[in-house]
Symmetry: none
Subunit: 259 residues, 2 copies
Amino acid sequence: MRMSTIWGPLAKAIAATGTDRHVDCLIDLIGADIEHDLVTVTRYSATQTPEFIKHRRFSDEMVRRYLDNYYVFDPFYASWRRERRLGIMPLKRLADDEAKRGQYIAGFLAQSEISDEVGIMLADGGDWCLGIFLDRSTTSFKDSEIALLDERLPVFEALHALDIKARGTEFSRTSAPTGPGASPQQKPTIPTSLWPELSLRERELVQLILAGHPTANIAERLGITVGTVKNHRRRIYDKLDITTERELFLQFFQHRADG
Amino acid sequence: MRMSTIWGPLAKAIAATGTDRHVDCLIDLIGADIEHDLVTVTRYSATQTPEFIKHRRFSDEMVRRYLDNYYVFDPFYASWRRERRLGIMPLKRLADDEAKRGQYIAGFLAQSEISDEVGIMLADGGDWCLGIFLDRSTTSFKDSEIALLDERLPVFEALHALDIKARGTEFSRTSAPTGPGASPQQKPTIPTSLWPELSLRERELVQLILAGHPTANIAERLGITVGTVKNHRRRIYDKLDITTERELFLQFFQHRADG
DNA sequence: CGCGCCATATGCCTAAAGACACAATGACCG
DNA sequence: CGGTCATTGTGTCTTTAGGCATATGGCGCG
């Protein structure tokens, strides 16, 4: 029987959750038996420019160029901001914005000597997204390799979720041991005092709405249908005596201003 | 490519560390692709009699008999107390004490309709050992299956270690971490510092949008057509590198939060 | 002067949000 | 036990937002 190379890194990754070795171990795990030439890790935000978390065999110069210019053309970034879709994201699946994509490939990837790229997009607490990118300089990722990543995605997600959770409890004890790979952990939690008439579930919906997620996204995230989410919105709006998402934002605003 | 059945249970097991679903998920993971007819989970101690933690497809009557009598013949228990060896432990490797083993097999296993057994012995904090046992009623475990478990053992160990750690540091969450009561800005005016790239007219539009006015309302108020307002929105979104009104609210939020 | 750039303006089409009606389940409560 | 309510679900319809093409007028600049 062929020995698998995955279990060692997996065990290490499990043990490393909540520590500052977490991201490194996660990279080791993801890339354990997927050939790759270099790795980059970035964090995306809905409202801020991307951050570079880590990189392997990638020049600081290219990091600078990405942060200065090319992030605008980054199709992974654009896709996430538009759809907020997490999971395994091969470069070739991002055929949306031809112009931007072309500029990214012809410019940034060519200068970085990258021929193919696959992103593992993970929820990163608050409204952030952690993207781990494997890159190849000559060949492309095969469908079977993408399938392998897809299959293992739940494991990656669970590991990162655990890390965020562990890190969260750590914040409450010590003061901000924010390492280079630490999650922002900014939670726009809705205080119970606000909108006491809402049920728990409805508050959960409000939370996601105020985080900027569109209906389809919320449905996917909660594992319910779009119709149900709309129904929830309806009931929430009724209770708050409003008719649009816009007014929900305004009420939240008002609340913050009044303090 | 053959789909593996291991990744789903693995993800669940990772997520369940620190919760009371941990042992169950661990069982699911260990037994995911190892055929077995029943499962028992016991905890061994150097100074106390064994405890029964869980069992699947195993009668309460047999649990009682084990705890009353047969545990003294249990070769796994005897082996652990003598050698304190952890890891994967197939029944056939326990050829030490023929007398006891014979009684265990002839008595307990026969009554339980068990023909082969393999134990996964995990460190359980302090001086304890958690034993997860897979049992077969007719066939035996093959060497290749034992090798598979051996290979994955580090993962099982890491998971259980994490569970112990999480259980140890089970603190209550902090509440209300927010500090300074920032003086609420009475005027909802958009400061020029924010979004300097917008023209005067565009800032006027943004003001109205953030005030909650729909497109038609803005058009009427400004004495222009709905289409023009939409075009303004489009241009504003382009400049701010967003695509929806939602994100405009988020950016404004962000600005206020950063202050 | 023409040329490019930008703000302003508009119509057409698609995608998404919202309004409304209806229904099944399960938990909780008097 | 029946009634209320939360939750999830479906379907159809209207309204609105967003994407795209395009047009006009002012303005600086070589």
